[in-house]
């Protein structure tokens, strides 16, 4: 017997690998059946329906308590995100304008030339 075969850790690793493969294979077979599709479809539909119904009920409750609902908090979050992305856009625009001004004045780091050749090209640029 080889050392590997005697090594208990190696035996354990082999067992773990085989168990993982076997379990995944068995689960894939089960999940590949039409029965699984049907149950999963029903569960997804029920879960989406329940989630919507619960959300609607909770919204009514929170309105009654004079508290902001999840939808309102999300809407506020979205507005903040919109402001944030507009700030990003303004920042990107300013960076661009600044880069253009610097380039016009001949300053700033020059962009590298687009003259690189693949290593296979005779006398090419090669690796830098």
């Amino acid at each position: 017997m080889s050392d590997k075969a005697k090594d208990p850790m190696e035996v354990w690793h082999t067992f773990l690998g085989e168990m993982e493969k076997g379990f995944n294979s068995f689960a894939n077979q089960t999940m590949g059946s039409p029965e699984f599709s049907r149950v999963m479809g029903q569960m997804t539909g029920a879960s989406a329906g329940a989630s919507k119904a619960f959300g609607d009920a909770m919204e009514k409750y929170l309105t009654g308590m004079n508290l902001p609902s999840r939808a309102q908090m999300m809407s506020m979050g979205e507005r903040l995100q919109t402001i944030e992305s507009q700030l990003h856009e303004i920042k990107a625009l300013l960076n661009r304008v600044q880069a253009d001004v610097v380039a016009e004045q001949g300053g700033g780091a020059p962009k590298p030339p687009r003259t690189r050749q693949p290593p296979s090209a005779a006398g090419g640029g090669g690796q830098t």
């Binding site: 050392d3 590997k4 090594d7 850790m9 190696e10 773990l16 168990m19 993982e20 379990f23 995944n24 689960a27 894939n28 999940m31 590949g32 059946s33 039409p34 699984f36 599709s37 049907r38 999963m40 479809g41 029903q42 997804t44 539909g45 989406a48 329906g49 989630s51 919507k52 999300m74 809407s75 979205e78 995100q81 992305s85 990003h88 856009e89 920042k91 990107a92 960076n95 962009k111 590298p112 030339p113 687009r114 003259t115 690189r116 050749q117 693949p118 290593p119 296979s120 090209a121 640029g125 690796q127 830098t128």
Partner: protein, 364 residues
């Protein structure tokens, strides 16, 4: 953290006492490092220097700063999958695909996605293919000053890239690269079963919840290999003494858990047009009323397929080369899975050099 003193190969352990000593040392290291693991802060991922050129709702366009004195003429636009964050391609220095490309002299841009907001639930395939990608391509052209653009699409980013290429046949796309990109959705057997049209009411789902939550996307990926998460946690504990293993585990686990929601209408279209009607493969796909027939694409294409991809099995991705109209086309089948094809130690050795060799010849 200190290097693991127990990293000697098993073959060099000659006696049972040595083996026991090693295991005891590892057990001690596991306990110490297990505490460190829980207390440790997350690594900074996606840190290659970049500028945000565009930010519009779910769409972000980055430009990575060149790292060489001379770059190839044609810039690359990477189109990321809509379900996941782009930092999988920019993990940490030395394990970053982006950094690799920059050091090999490419000019790299990335179209990455953030979680679509509730108000973006009406985004459709045409928003991605006829608006977001073309806007990014125009911005790449403007920023680089070059008309030609190369595109690399990862997973569903590859599908979007194919749809873009087939609806923009007059350019400016010069070369196309797709990684683990499905084309024949019959090959994604479990996803087919999950979305069986007899039982899965996609209209009811989208109409009631709007955007599809990330937990649902994540669960559907996890269900493909239900035992693997538990096994990976056992393996993590066993390798807790190994700093490199732990770091790598943390990075990939964080990324895998960072799944994005999908815009509701986009999900509805994907389910009906691709999963149910397989329109991309059947060459009946339309986007915003425009024909998107991949047999009309003629630009050079490199298609990378992972041999052990459980998310996009080779049955789903292989027919691309047969269907596409390009004359200059190449498929490479590499060892690895859906993620390890593009990121991690194996990708560094296998995919990245092959891509560099293929693309550098065509980027001048």
């Amino acid at each position: 953290m200190s290097a693991a003193p127990q990293s000697q190969p098993l073959g060099s352990i000659t006696s049972v006492s040595d083996r026991i000593q090693t295991e005891v040392q590892r057990a001690i290291q596991r306990s110490i490092k297990g505490v460190e693991y829980i207390a440790s802060s997350a690594q900074v991922l996606g840190s290659t220097p970049k500028d945000v050129l565009l930010s519009r709702g779910t769409m972000q366009l980055y430009h990575y700063r060149p790292m060489t004195d001379e770059i190839y003429r044609i810039p690359i636009l990477i189109v990321m999958a809509t379900t996941n964050r782009g930092y999988i391609l920019d993990m940490v220095p030395g394990m970053s695909f982006i950094e690799f490309l920059l050091k090999r002299g490419f000019d790299v841009y990335m179209l990455d996605w953030t979680a679509p907001r509730a108000e973006e639930k009406n985004l459709r395939m045409e928003d991605y293919v006829l608006d977001f990608i073309p806007q990014c391509v125009r911005e790449v052209q403007r920023d680089s000053g070059v008309d030609d653009v190369n595109i690399i699409g990862y997973c569903f980013g590859g599908v979007l890239s194919l749809l873009y290429a087939s609806t923009h046949l007059d350019g400016p796309l010069k070369n196309l690269v797709t990684f683990t990109t499905p084309i024949d959705f019959r090959g994604m057997k479990l996803f087919q079963n999950f979305s069986d049209r007899r039982y899965f009411d996609v209209d009811k789902l989208v109409d009631s919840i709007g955007n599809v939550p990330p937990e649902m996307i994540f669960s559907s990926f996890e269900m493909l290999r239900p035992a693997s998460r538990a096994v990976s946690q056992v393996q993590l504990w066993e390798n807790m003494w190994n700093d490199q293993y732990v770091k790598s585990y943390q990075m990939f686990d964080r990324w895998a858990n960072d799944t994005l929601p999908l815009a509701g209408e986009y999900f509805r279209q994907t389910t009906k047009d691709l999963m149910w009607d397989n329109k991309l493969y059947n060459q009946t796909m339309t986007v915003g009323g425009r024909t998107a027939d991949i047999s009309k694409i003629t630009v050079p294409i490199l298609h990378a397929v992972a041999e052990h991809d459980h998310i996009v099995p080779s049955e789903a991705s292989k027919p691309l080369i047969e269907k596409i109209g390009s004359k200059d086309k190449e498929e490479i089948v590499l060892k690895g899975g859906h993620v390890s094809l593009v990121a991690g130690a194996n990708a560094v050795k296998r995919l990245w050099p092959r891509l560099d060799s293929w693309l550098s010849e065509r980027s001048i």
